[in-house]
């Protein structure tokens, strides 16, 4: 009887100390207004939350996060699906393409951001020059829209490989017999894709949808942090980055905690949604 307890204890202690306790602390301090000099705190109830709801800056960041998430999710899914379908089809060089298309998975987001800084360098960045040749005076870190564009591009670059791997493995698990049947029934390749392949991939796509939304919300922290070059000022940022900026730089503990709690609720909603889909997925397969 003591053995299983012993086996479980390390994991449970870590969860208690580094997950539950901090989460509880966040909920608690979101209800207090911390004195900036650390002399104490006053209970203010939900004031931190109403402040956020009334803050035009917070709302602007929330909207940016929504648009950013939609763009990153849609673009990286679409690109990855296209590439996976092609990689599944070709015979020659299939292995090489697969490797070339998945290695970026291992690049850390801040390093991806760093590479973005190089590509979008103000004076000679290849992508800046490309934008200029189209008559677009690209100014990373200065112009809000340009910085946002760079963030989307870098985040998509970083996310395509994950989606590619899952789509490809999804495509390869479609039984040969189904493909052959489709080949007989439907002559056009695009018709075959939309009528047979795509519905069979739908469970994978739904699953990836959640993965991508989570990625765009949370894991892009490193990309945002490097691309704003440490000067968030006028630049676009995501909600997660805002938690960090307010908590660590602005020392607004209450406000930052309230933002954390809002994000917790968001994750909860996403997870419930995901599990609903998993149930559907079982029905599919």
């Amino acid at each position: 009887m003591w053995l299983p307890m012993l086996l479980l204890v390390p994991q449970l202690i870590i969860i208690a100390v580094f997950f539950y306790w901090p989460a509880w602390q966040a909920v608690q301090s979101s209800l207090y207004l911390e004195d900036p000099f650390g002399f104490g705190s006053t209970f203010v109830g939900v004031e931190n939350y109403t402040d956020l709801a009334g803050s035009s800056e917070y709302m602007r960041i929330a909207w940016f996060t929504v648009i950013f998430t939609l763009l990153v999710t849609f673009l990286s899914l679409a690109l990855a699906l296209l590439l996976a379908v092609k990689a599944d089809k070709v015979i020659r060089g299939a292995q090489t393409y697969r490797t070339l298309l998945m290695w970026v998975y291992a690049v850390a987001p801040p390093v991806a951001g760093f590479i973005g800084l190089i590509m979008f360098d103000q004076s000679w960045g290849p992508l800046t020059e490309f934008a200029r040749s189209l008559g677009w005076d690209f100014k990373l870190g200065v112009n809000y829209f340009d910085t946002a564009t760079a963030m989307v591009i870098v985040s998509v670059w970083k996310q395509v490989p994950v989606n590619f791997i899952f789509f490809l493995s999804g495509l390869q698990s479609i039984p040969r017999s189904v493909r052959e049947a489709a080949l007989i029934d439907n002559r056009s390749a695009s018709g075959r894709f939309w009528d047979v392949t795509f519905p069979l991939l739908a469970p994978t796509a739904f699953f990836l949808l959640i993965i991508n939304i989570t990625y765009a919300l949370f894991d892009t922290f490193g990309v945002v942090d490097t691309l704003v070059k440490g000067e968030p000022g006028n630049n676009p940022m995501t909600l997660v980055y805002k938690v960090y900026v307010d908590g660590f730089r602005g020392n607004d503990l209450g406000g930052s905690s309230a933002q954390s709690v809002i994000l917790m609720v968001l994750v909860l909603a996403l997870t419930i949604f995901q599990f609903r889909l998993v149930e559907k997925r079982i029905h599919y397969t």
Partner: protein, 302 residues
């Protein structure tokens, strides 16, 4: 040559050619898409690489070009052995070592406590097994990003700032690893457990001598995923390591970027080389252990 012969010959040569061309038409398009996609992924890294081979002064003037210079050795020495920070301890070598410690410690930690918990949940008739399962499950609801500040405070109170244990331990609770091994343990045939019991193997012996060897492939797959994941950690190291000799490469990237902003001659050679070194080990792991990696990824996340 008669006319009929010529016609037959023409037909014989034309027919297969036409068929081959038709196949090629679609094929060319497929390859074109894949080549453009591969370039989209690859070119940024090539640009970064090119910049490590030319002197910084030239870089500022012309930017990246197609020419490979001869400065790679020099930049490599500078990046790996010359310190860039204030303390003089922020060398590339130091950061590389820290990155490996984090990557390996993170992966081994997750696998170890994940396997232990999964073993307890699957093989023992515990009353609170379901509860433990759900407790572990809830970690998915609390990603680091939503509890940044309080987690930092806990580690601070425990005096674990700027230590390897502070860097690694708070990160190794893992629903993913636990579920992954739970799934696998469940697929181990019941007969094996009974056979072991008849042979007089206790639960510890069964775990060490039977279950662990059986899980080898699973462990390898999980290790690769988790090594890459641990190596690439950014937010947590950014908060808990403030001393430069504790920086990992990925954590150090921000300092690297800042050297590009402030100094008179931005050190692109050094910065880009460090970025390259930060990328190479996890990329190598993904490429060399591709099949395990894909297996670990697609089977653990579902």
């Amino acid at each position: 040559m008669t006319e009929a012969n010529a016609a037959a010959l023409a037909a014989a040569t034309v027919k297969p050619r036409r068929r081959r061309r038709r196949i090629r038409g679609g094929d060319v398009l497929d390859h074109l898409v894949l080549i453009v996609g591969s370039l989209f992924m690859l070119v940024p890294l090539l640009v970064v690489f090119q910049m490590t081979t030319v002197p910084d002064v030239e870089m500022i003037r012309t930017g990246p070009s197609l020419q490979i210079g001869d400065q790679l050795d020099e930049n490599f020495d500078k990046a790996m052995f010359e310190a860039s920070g204030f303390s003089g301890q922020n060398t590339g070598t130091r950061m590389l070592v820290n990155s490996f410690i984090l990557g390996i410690g993170f992966a081994l930690g997750k696998i170890l406590i994940g396997m232990m918990a999964a073993y307890a949940i699957v093989y023992f008739r515990l009353r609170f097994a379901t509860l433990a399962f759900w407790v572990i499950f809830t970690t998915l609801l609390l990603p680091l990003e939503v509890r940044i500040l309080p987690s930092y405070e806990v580690v601070q109170k425990l005096g674990m700032l700027n230590t390897y244990q502070g860097l690694i331990i708070p990160l190794i609770a893992s629903a993913t690893a636990t579920f992954f091994f739970r799934q696998f343990f469940r697929s181990v045939p019941e007969e094996l457990v009974e056979a072991a019991r008849i042979d007089g193997a206790g639960p510890v012996k069964f775990f060490v001598d039977i279950l662990v060897p059986l899980s080898k492939t699973m462990i390898a797959a999980m290790f690769i995923i988790m090594f890459v994941f641990g190596w690439n950690q950014y937010l947590w190291p950014t908060m808990v390591t403030t001393e430069e000799d504790m920086f990992t490469l990925v954590r150090g990237i921000k300092q690297i970027t800042q050297t590009l902003e402030g100094t008179n001659v931005p050190e692109f050679g050094r910065a880009n080389l460090l970025a390259l070194i930060a990328v190479l080990p996890p990329v190598a792991v993904v490429i060399f252990f591709q099949s395990w990696f894909v297996k670990g990824l697609t089977e653990s996340d579902k």
